[in-house]
Protein backbone atom coordinates (compact mmCIF):
# COMPACT_ATOMS: atom_id res chain seq x y z
CA UNK A 1 0.00 0.00 0.00
CA UNK A 2 1.25 3.47 -0.79
CA UNK A 3 2.00 5.92 2.03
CA UNK A 4 1.09 9.52 2.60
CA UNK A 5 4.79 10.35 2.18
CA UNK A 6 4.81 8.75 -1.25
CA UNK A 7 1.59 10.58 -2.08
CA UNK A 8 3.15 13.87 -1.09
CA UNK A 9 6.20 13.15 -3.22
CA UNK A 10 4.07 12.44 -6.26
CA UNK A 11 1.86 15.44 -5.57
CA UNK A 12 4.98 17.62 -5.53
CA UNK A 13 5.99 16.62 -9.06
CA UNK A 14 5.24 19.13 -11.75
CA UNK A 15 3.13 17.95 -14.68
CA UNK A 16 6.13 17.24 -16.88
CA UNK A 17 7.87 15.13 -14.23
CA UNK A 18 4.65 13.37 -13.34
CA UNK A 19 4.00 12.50 -16.98
CA UNK A 20 7.48 10.98 -17.20
CA UNK A 21 6.92 8.95 -14.04
CA UNK A 22 3.58 7.69 -15.28
CA UNK A 23 5.16 6.21 -18.39
CA UNK A 24 7.19 3.76 -16.28
CA UNK A 25 5.68 0.29 -16.59
CA UNK A 26 7.85 -2.12 -14.62
CA UNK A 27 5.73 -2.47 -11.52
CA UNK A 28 7.76 -5.40 -10.25
CA UNK A 29 11.24 -3.88 -10.24
CA UNK A 30 11.10 -0.15 -10.81
CA UNK A 31 11.03 1.81 -7.53
CA UNK A 32 9.83 4.87 -9.45
CA UNK A 33 6.78 3.10 -10.79
CA UNK A 34 3.63 4.75 -9.41
CA UNK A 35 1.13 2.08 -8.31
CA UNK A 36 -2.48 2.19 -9.53
CA UNK A 37 -3.69 3.01 -6.02
CA UNK A 38 -1.50 6.07 -5.90
CA UNK A 39 -2.42 7.25 -9.39
CA UNK A 40 -6.07 7.01 -8.48
CA UNK A 41 -5.51 8.70 -5.14
CA UNK A 42 -3.85 11.60 -6.93
CA UNK A 43 -6.70 11.67 -9.43
CA UNK A 44 -9.19 12.07 -6.58
CA UNK A 45 -7.09 14.82 -5.10
CA UNK A 46 -7.02 16.67 -8.42
CA UNK A 47 -10.77 16.20 -8.74
CA UNK A 48 -11.32 17.65 -5.28
CA UNK A 49 -9.12 20.64 -6.14
CA UNK A 50 -10.74 20.99 -9.56
CA UNK A 51 -7.25 20.94 -11.09
CA UNK A 52 -8.28 20.08 -14.62
CA UNK A 53 -4.81 19.79 -16.13
CA UNK A 54 -3.67 17.36 -13.46
CA UNK A 55 -6.98 15.52 -13.66
CA UNK A 56 -6.61 14.96 -17.38
CA UNK A 57 -3.04 13.77 -17.01
CA UNK A 58 -3.88 11.25 -14.31
CA UNK A 59 -7.08 10.12 -16.05
CA UNK A 60 -5.10 9.37 -19.19
CA UNK A 61 -2.61 7.25 -17.24
CA UNK A 62 -5.42 5.40 -15.52
CA UNK A 63 -7.15 4.85 -18.84
CA UNK A 64 -4.10 3.15 -20.29
CA UNK A 65 -3.80 0.92 -17.25
CA UNK A 66 -7.51 0.17 -17.03
CA UNK A 67 -7.67 -0.78 -20.69
CA UNK A 68 -4.78 -3.17 -20.17
CA UNK A 69 -6.29 -4.71 -17.02
CA UNK A 70 -9.64 -4.98 -18.79
CA UNK A 71 -8.19 -6.60 -21.89
CA UNK A 72 -6.44 -9.22 -19.78
CA UNK A 73 -9.58 -9.85 -17.75
CA UNK A 74 -11.66 -10.32 -20.90
CA UNK A 75 -9.15 -12.75 -22.36
CA UNK A 76 -8.72 -14.67 -19.12
CA UNK A 77 -12.49 -15.04 -18.71
CA UNK A 78 -12.80 -16.04 -22.37
CA UNK A 79 -15.26 -13.22 -23.03
CA UNK A 80 -13.70 -12.81 -26.46
CA UNK A 81 -14.92 -13.94 -28.93
CA UNK A 82 -17.69 -15.83 -27.13
CA UNK A 83 -19.51 -12.91 -25.51
CA UNK A 84 -18.01 -9.86 -27.18
CA UNK A 85 -16.48 -10.11 -30.61
CA UNK A 86 -13.58 -7.71 -30.27
CA UNK A 87 -11.02 -7.56 -27.43
CA UNK A 88 -10.66 -3.81 -27.80
CA UNK A 89 -14.38 -3.36 -27.47
CA UNK A 90 -14.49 -5.68 -24.47
CA UNK A 91 -11.71 -3.71 -22.79
CA UNK A 92 -13.49 -0.42 -23.43
CA UNK A 93 -16.77 -1.70 -22.02
CA UNK A 94 -15.16 -3.09 -18.89
CA UNK A 95 -13.04 0.01 -18.33
CA UNK A 96 -16.08 2.30 -18.75
CA UNK A 97 -17.97 0.25 -16.20
CA UNK A 98 -15.05 0.40 -13.77
CA UNK A 99 -14.82 4.17 -14.19
CA UNK A 100 -18.51 4.55 -13.49
CA UNK A 101 -17.96 2.95 -10.09
CA UNK A 102 -14.79 4.90 -9.41
CA UNK A 103 -16.45 8.21 -10.16
CA UNK A 104 -19.90 7.72 -8.71
CA UNK A 105 -19.45 5.44 -5.68
CA UNK A 106 -17.45 6.73 -2.76
CA UNK A 107 -17.06 3.28 -1.17
CA UNK A 108 -15.62 1.87 -4.39
CA UNK A 109 -13.27 4.81 -4.76
CA UNK A 110 -12.06 4.35 -1.19
CA UNK A 111 -11.43 0.67 -1.78
CA UNK A 112 -9.62 1.36 -5.04
CA UNK A 113 -7.23 3.68 -3.20
CA UNK A 114 -6.33 0.81 -0.87
CA UNK A 115 -6.34 -2.20 -3.19
CA UNK A 116 -6.94 -1.26 -6.80
CA UNK A 117 -6.45 -4.76 -8.19
CA UNK A 118 -8.91 -6.30 -5.80
CA UNK A 119 -11.46 -3.57 -6.50
CA UNK A 120 -10.96 -4.07 -10.23
CA UNK A 121 -11.57 -7.81 -10.01
CA UNK A 122 -14.72 -7.31 -7.91
CA UNK A 123 -16.25 -4.89 -10.40
CA UNK A 124 -15.05 -6.69 -13.51
CA UNK A 125 -16.70 -9.88 -12.24
CA UNK A 126 -19.86 -7.85 -11.65
CA UNK A 127 -19.68 -6.57 -15.20
CA UNK A 128 -19.31 -10.12 -16.48
CA UNK A 129 -22.25 -11.29 -14.40
CA UNK A 130 -24.40 -8.41 -15.65
CA UNK A 131 -23.39 -9.20 -19.20
CA UNK A 132 -24.56 -12.78 -18.78
CA UNK A 133 -27.83 -11.61 -17.23
CA UNK A 134 -28.40 -9.26 -20.12
CA UNK A 135 -27.75 -12.04 -22.56
CA UNK A 136 -30.14 -14.35 -20.78
CA UNK A 137 -32.79 -11.62 -20.73
CA UNK A 138 -32.44 -11.08 -24.44
CA UNK A 139 -32.58 -14.81 -25.05
CA UNK A 140 -35.62 -15.32 -22.85
CA UNK A 141 -37.45 -12.42 -24.50
CA UNK A 142 -37.02 -14.24 -27.79
CA UNK A 143 -37.66 -17.76 -26.45
CA UNK A 144 -41.01 -19.04 -25.31
CA UNK A 145 -40.08 -22.55 -24.28
CA UNK A 146 -36.60 -22.32 -22.85
CA UNK A 147 -36.96 -24.51 -19.78
CA UNK A 148 -34.19 -27.05 -20.01
CA UNK A 149 -33.47 -26.59 -16.29
CA UNK A 150 -36.82 -28.14 -15.53
CA UNK A 151 -36.10 -30.98 -17.89
CA UNK A 152 -32.98 -31.75 -15.92
CA UNK A 153 -34.77 -31.54 -12.60
CA UNK A 154 -37.43 -34.07 -13.49
CA UNK A 155 -34.97 -36.78 -14.42
CA UNK A 156 -35.47 -38.51 -11.10
CA UNK A 157 -34.45 -41.96 -12.15
CA UNK A 158 -30.75 -41.32 -12.52
CA UNK A 159 -28.45 -42.91 -10.00
CA UNK A 160 -26.43 -40.46 -7.97
CA UNK A 161 -22.96 -40.12 -9.31
CA UNK A 162 -20.16 -41.20 -7.07
CA UNK A 163 -17.89 -38.39 -5.87
CA UNK A 164 -14.56 -39.87 -4.86
CA UNK A 165 -11.77 -37.31 -4.74
CA UNK A 166 -8.20 -38.53 -5.24
CA UNK A 167 -5.29 -36.19 -6.03
CA UNK A 168 -5.12 -37.58 -9.56
CA UNK A 169 -8.82 -37.06 -10.07
CA UNK A 170 -8.69 -33.52 -8.71
CA UNK A 171 -5.79 -32.65 -11.02
CA UNK A 172 -7.54 -34.23 -13.98
CA UNK A 173 -10.71 -32.27 -13.21
CA UNK A 174 -8.88 -28.95 -13.12
CA UNK A 175 -7.05 -29.80 -16.32
CA UNK A 176 -10.38 -30.60 -17.94
CA UNK A 177 -11.84 -27.34 -16.64
CA UNK A 178 -9.04 -25.35 -18.22
CA UNK A 179 -9.49 -27.16 -21.51
CA UNK A 180 -13.22 -26.58 -21.92
CA UNK A 181 -13.71 -23.34 -19.97
CA UNK A 182 -13.80 -21.11 -23.01
CA UNK A 183 -16.97 -22.73 -24.32
CA UNK A 184 -18.81 -23.49 -21.09
CA UNK A 185 -20.95 -20.38 -20.99
CA UNK A 186 -22.13 -21.01 -24.49
CA UNK A 187 -23.17 -24.62 -24.13
CA UNK A 188 -24.30 -24.97 -20.50
CA UNK A 189 -27.34 -23.65 -18.67
CA UNK A 190 -26.75 -21.37 -15.69
CA UNK A 191 -27.04 -24.15 -13.10
CA UNK A 192 -24.99 -26.59 -15.16
CA UNK A 193 -22.28 -23.93 -15.47
CA UNK A 194 -22.27 -23.21 -11.74
CA UNK A 195 -22.18 -26.91 -10.89
CA UNK A 196 -19.43 -27.78 -13.34
CA UNK A 197 -17.31 -24.76 -12.40
CA UNK A 198 -17.50 -25.29 -8.65
CA UNK A 199 -16.90 -29.03 -8.91
CA UNK A 200 -14.08 -28.84 -11.43
CA UNK A 201 -12.64 -25.36 -11.03
CA UNK A 202 -12.19 -25.58 -7.27
CA UNK A 203 -13.01 -29.17 -6.28
CA UNK A 204 -16.14 -28.55 -4.29
CA UNK A 205 -18.11 -31.54 -3.06
CA UNK A 206 -21.48 -32.28 -4.63
CA UNK A 207 -23.09 -31.77 -1.21
CA UNK A 208 -21.54 -28.32 -0.93
CA UNK A 209 -22.83 -27.27 -4.34
CA UNK A 210 -26.28 -28.56 -3.39
CA UNK A 211 -26.24 -26.56 -0.15
CA UNK A 212 -25.16 -23.41 -1.98
CA UNK A 213 -27.77 -23.76 -4.71
CA UNK A 214 -30.45 -24.80 -2.22
CA UNK A 215 -31.31 -27.94 -4.17
CA UNK A 216 -30.93 -31.67 -3.56
CA UNK A 217 -27.77 -33.65 -4.17
CA UNK A 218 -29.68 -35.53 -6.83
CA UNK A 219 -30.40 -32.29 -8.71
CA UNK A 220 -26.72 -31.34 -8.58
CA UNK A 221 -25.78 -34.76 -9.90
CA UNK A 222 -28.27 -34.23 -12.69
CA UNK A 223 -26.73 -30.84 -13.56
CA UNK A 224 -23.30 -32.44 -13.44
CA UNK A 225 -24.30 -35.36 -15.61
CA UNK A 226 -26.03 -33.10 -18.11
CA UNK A 227 -23.05 -30.73 -18.23
CA UNK A 228 -20.61 -33.57 -18.78
CA UNK A 229 -22.77 -35.01 -21.56
CA UNK A 230 -22.89 -31.65 -23.33
CA UNK A 231 -19.16 -31.12 -22.90
CA UNK A 232 -18.45 -34.60 -24.16
CA UNK A 233 -20.65 -33.99 -27.19
CA UNK A 234 -19.18 -30.55 -27.82
CA UNK A 235 -15.56 -31.65 -27.66
CA UNK A 236 -15.86 -35.11 -29.15
CA UNK A 237 -14.39 -34.58 -32.58
Amino acid sequence: MHTSEADAAVAALDDHALRARLTRKDWRNDPLFIPDEQVFSQFRLARAKDDKARLGLLAEALNERLLEHSRKFALKMRMVPGLIDDPRRAALEIASCIWEHLLARASDAAHAEKAFGQFFKRRALDFFKALLAKKRKLQSSLDTDDDEDDEVLVTDHLDELKDFNTPDLLAARQQEFGRVNSRLLEILTQKEYITFTLLNGDNWQVQEVAAALGVTVKSVNNYKRSALAKIDKEFKQ
Partner: protein
Protein backbone atom coordinates in the same frame (compact mmCIF):
# COMPACT_ATOMS: atom_id res chain seq x y z
CA UNK B 1 -21.78 -12.30 8.77
CA UNK B 2 -23.17 -9.18 10.35
CA UNK B 3 -26.79 -8.93 11.31
CA UNK B 4 -28.08 -5.98 9.38
CA UNK B 5 -30.54 -3.50 10.82
CA UNK B 6 -31.73 -2.84 7.31
CA UNK B 7 -31.83 -5.13 4.33
CA UNK B 8 -28.48 -5.03 2.57
CA UNK B 9 -28.44 -4.52 -1.17
CA UNK B 10 -27.08 -7.26 -3.40
CA UNK B 11 -24.09 -5.05 -4.08
CA UNK B 12 -23.33 -4.75 -0.38
CA UNK B 13 -23.74 -8.47 0.16
CA UNK B 14 -21.38 -9.28 -2.71
CA UNK B 15 -18.91 -6.67 -1.46
CA UNK B 16 -18.91 -8.26 1.99
CA UNK B 17 -18.61 -11.71 0.45
CA UNK B 18 -15.86 -10.82 -2.02
CA UNK B 19 -13.68 -8.67 0.21
CA UNK B 20 -13.62 -11.23 3.02
CA UNK B 21 -11.54 -13.87 1.22
CA UNK B 22 -9.03 -14.47 -1.53
CA UNK B 23 -11.29 -16.97 -3.25
CA UNK B 24 -14.76 -18.36 -2.58
CA UNK B 25 -14.84 -21.31 -0.20
CA UNK B 26 -17.84 -23.60 0.18
CA UNK B 27 -18.35 -22.56 3.81
CA UNK B 28 -18.22 -18.87 2.93
CA UNK B 29 -20.66 -19.22 0.01
CA UNK B 30 -23.11 -21.34 1.98
CA UNK B 31 -22.95 -18.90 4.90
CA UNK B 32 -23.66 -15.97 2.58
CA UNK B 33 -26.56 -17.85 0.97
CA UNK B 34 -28.04 -18.72 4.33
CA UNK B 35 -27.64 -15.16 5.54
CA UNK B 36 -29.21 -13.71 2.40
CA UNK B 37 -31.44 -16.37 0.84
CA UNK B 38 -33.12 -13.72 -1.32
CA UNK B 39 -29.82 -13.33 -3.19
CA UNK B 40 -28.87 -17.02 -3.30
CA UNK B 41 -28.84 -17.31 -7.10
CA UNK B 42 -26.72 -14.17 -7.49
CA UNK B 43 -24.29 -15.16 -4.76
CA UNK B 44 -23.73 -18.64 -6.19
CA UNK B 45 -23.36 -17.39 -9.75
CA UNK B 46 -20.91 -14.73 -8.61
CA UNK B 47 -18.96 -17.40 -6.71
CA UNK B 48 -18.87 -19.60 -9.82
CA UNK B 49 -17.57 -16.76 -12.00
CA UNK B 50 -15.00 -15.87 -9.37
CA UNK B 51 -13.94 -19.50 -9.18
CA UNK B 52 -13.66 -19.65 -12.96
CA UNK B 53 -11.49 -16.54 -12.90
CA UNK B 54 -9.14 -17.96 -10.28
CA UNK B 55 -8.98 -21.34 -12.05
CA UNK B 56 -8.33 -19.89 -15.50
CA UNK B 57 -4.82 -19.67 -16.82
CA UNK B 58 -3.38 -16.30 -17.78
CA UNK B 59 -4.07 -15.53 -21.43
CA UNK B 60 -1.30 -16.13 -23.91
CA UNK B 61 -0.02 -12.76 -25.08
CA UNK B 62 -0.43 -12.04 -28.73
CA UNK B 63 1.74 -9.16 -29.86
CA UNK B 64 -0.81 -8.15 -32.47
CA UNK B 65 -3.53 -7.57 -29.89
CA UNK B 66 -1.66 -6.67 -26.73
CA UNK B 67 -0.97 -3.00 -27.34
CA UNK B 68 -3.36 -0.43 -25.94
CA UNK B 69 -4.59 1.75 -28.80
CA UNK B 70 -4.28 5.51 -28.50
CA UNK B 71 -7.76 6.00 -29.92
CA UNK B 72 -9.23 3.76 -27.21
CA UNK B 73 -7.43 5.76 -24.52
CA UNK B 74 -8.76 8.92 -26.12
CA UNK B 75 -12.30 7.53 -26.28
CA UNK B 76 -12.16 6.55 -22.62
CA UNK B 77 -10.71 9.93 -21.73
CA UNK B 78 -13.73 11.62 -23.29
CA UNK B 79 -16.03 9.28 -21.41
CA UNK B 80 -14.35 10.06 -18.08
CA UNK B 81 -14.27 13.81 -18.59
CA UNK B 82 -17.91 13.85 -19.69
CA UNK B 83 -18.93 11.84 -16.64
CA UNK B 84 -16.97 14.15 -14.37
CA UNK B 85 -18.76 17.08 -15.93
CA UNK B 86 -22.12 15.41 -15.37
CA UNK B 87 -21.33 14.40 -11.80
CA UNK B 88 -19.45 17.45 -10.59
CA UNK B 89 -20.98 20.11 -12.77
CA UNK B 90 -24.63 19.64 -11.94
CA UNK B 91 -26.35 20.76 -8.75
CA UNK B 92 -26.82 18.17 -6.07
CA UNK B 93 -30.35 17.37 -7.10
CA UNK B 94 -31.54 13.84 -6.71
CA UNK B 95 -30.83 11.63 -9.68
CA UNK B 96 -33.70 9.85 -11.31
CA UNK B 97 -31.42 7.13 -12.57
CA UNK B 98 -32.97 4.46 -10.39
CA UNK B 99 -36.49 5.25 -11.53
CA UNK B 100 -35.26 5.29 -15.12
CA UNK B 101 -33.74 1.86 -14.62
CA UNK B 102 -37.05 0.62 -13.26
CA UNK B 103 -38.94 2.11 -16.20
CA UNK B 104 -36.60 0.40 -18.67
CA UNK B 105 -36.79 -2.91 -16.81
CA UNK B 106 -40.58 -2.75 -16.96
CA UNK B 107 -40.56 -2.57 -20.76
CA UNK B 108 -41.94 -5.98 -21.54
CA UNK B 109 -44.86 -7.40 -23.50
CA UNK B 110 -47.55 -4.82 -24.26
CA UNK B 111 -45.50 -1.98 -22.73
CA UNK B 112 -42.64 -2.81 -25.03
CA UNK B 113 -44.99 -2.86 -28.01
CA UNK B 114 -46.48 0.52 -27.05
CA UNK B 115 -43.03 2.02 -26.63
CA UNK B 116 -41.94 0.59 -30.00
CA UNK B 117 -44.95 2.20 -31.66
CA UNK B 118 -44.30 5.51 -29.90
CA UNK B 119 -40.72 5.81 -31.08
CA UNK B 120 -41.77 5.00 -34.63
CA UNK B 121 -40.80 1.36 -34.95
CA UNK B 122 -44.34 0.29 -35.82
CA UNK B 123 -44.70 -3.37 -34.99
CA UNK B 124 -40.95 -4.01 -34.87
CA UNK B 125 -40.84 -4.79 -31.16
CA UNK B 126 -37.67 -6.82 -31.57
CA UNK B 127 -35.86 -3.69 -32.71
CA UNK B 128 -36.71 -1.92 -29.45
CA UNK B 129 -35.63 -5.00 -27.47
CA UNK B 130 -32.30 -4.72 -29.24
CA UNK B 131 -32.10 -0.98 -28.51
CA UNK B 132 -32.34 -1.88 -24.82
CA UNK B 133 -29.77 -4.65 -24.96
CA UNK B 134 -27.44 -4.95 -27.90
CA UNK B 135 -27.32 -2.01 -30.30
CA UNK B 136 -24.14 -0.03 -29.82
CA UNK B 137 -25.08 3.23 -31.56
CA UNK B 138 -28.71 3.95 -30.78
CA UNK B 139 -29.74 7.03 -32.80
CA UNK B 140 -30.15 10.13 -30.64
CA UNK B 141 -33.67 10.67 -31.92
CA UNK B 142 -34.75 7.31 -30.51
CA UNK B 143 -33.20 8.04 -27.11
CA UNK B 144 -35.03 11.38 -27.08
CA UNK B 145 -38.40 9.87 -28.02
CA UNK B 146 -38.06 6.91 -25.69
CA UNK B 147 -37.14 9.25 -22.83
CA UNK B 148 -40.24 11.27 -23.61
CA UNK B 149 -42.40 8.14 -23.67
CA UNK B 150 -40.99 6.92 -20.36
CA UNK B 151 -41.05 10.44 -18.94
CA UNK B 152 -37.42 10.26 -17.86
CA UNK B 153 -34.35 12.37 -18.56
CA UNK B 154 -32.41 11.58 -21.71
CA UNK B 155 -29.14 11.61 -19.76
CA UNK B 156 -30.48 9.03 -17.31
CA UNK B 157 -31.79 6.89 -20.14
CA UNK B 158 -28.39 7.02 -21.82
CA UNK B 159 -26.90 5.66 -18.62
CA UNK B 160 -29.34 2.75 -18.65
CA UNK B 161 -28.38 1.93 -22.22
CA UNK B 162 -24.73 1.75 -21.18
CA UNK B 163 -22.63 -0.39 -21.37
CA UNK B 164 -23.81 -1.16 -24.83
CA UNK B 165 -22.95 -4.81 -24.81
CA UNK B 166 -24.78 -8.04 -24.50
CA UNK B 167 -23.97 -11.68 -24.84
CA UNK B 168 -23.19 -12.85 -28.28
CA UNK B 169 -24.49 -16.34 -28.26
CA UNK B 170 -27.32 -18.37 -26.92
CA UNK B 171 -27.09 -19.33 -23.28
CA UNK B 172 -29.45 -22.12 -24.01
CA UNK B 173 -27.84 -25.48 -24.42
CA UNK B 174 -30.76 -26.77 -26.42
CA UNK B 175 -29.93 -24.98 -29.61
CA UNK B 176 -27.00 -23.74 -31.60
CA UNK B 177 -25.43 -20.41 -30.66
CA UNK B 178 -27.36 -17.56 -32.22
CA UNK B 179 -26.55 -14.18 -33.65
CA UNK B 180 -23.88 -11.84 -32.28
CA UNK B 181 -25.00 -9.88 -29.23
CA UNK B 182 -23.55 -6.47 -29.93
CA UNK B 183 -24.46 -4.90 -33.22
CA UNK B 184 -24.82 -1.59 -34.93
CA UNK B 185 -28.09 0.12 -35.67
CA UNK B 186 -27.57 -0.53 -39.33
CA UNK B 187 -26.93 -4.26 -38.96
CA UNK B 188 -29.88 -4.64 -36.57
CA UNK B 189 -32.22 -2.94 -39.04
CA UNK B 190 -30.87 -4.89 -42.00
CA UNK B 191 -31.51 -8.15 -40.13
CA UNK B 192 -35.19 -7.36 -39.60
CA UNK B 193 -37.69 -9.44 -41.58
CA UNK B 194 -39.31 -6.35 -43.12
CA UNK B 195 -39.49 -4.80 -46.56
CA UNK B 196 -36.63 -2.81 -48.02
CA UNK B 197 -38.73 0.36 -47.81
CA UNK B 198 -39.28 -0.20 -44.11
CA UNK B 199 -35.56 -0.80 -43.59
CA UNK B 200 -34.80 2.41 -45.43
CA UNK B 201 -37.26 4.27 -43.20
CA UNK B 202 -35.71 2.83 -40.04
CA UNK B 203 -32.15 3.49 -41.20
CA UNK B 204 -33.10 7.14 -41.66
CA UNK B 205 -33.41 7.44 -37.86
CA UNK B 206 -29.64 7.85 -37.90
CA UNK B 207 -29.68 10.78 -40.28
CA UNK B 208 -29.46 13.47 -37.62
CA UNK B 209 -26.64 11.78 -35.72
CA UNK B 210 -23.77 12.55 -38.05
CA UNK B 211 -24.12 16.32 -37.74
Amino acid sequence: MTTPNRRLSLDEVLDEFFYSADKPTPAQVIRACEGHPEYRADIVEFAALWTAYEASSEPAEDASTSATHAEDVSFLQSFVLNRLHELDGKPASTSDLESTKRAVAALKGAKLARAAAFVGFGSNVLLLAKVLTTITNVPARIVKDLAEHLQVLQADLQQCLRPRVAGARSYSAARAPNAPGSETWESAVRALPVSEDEKKRLLAFQDGDAS
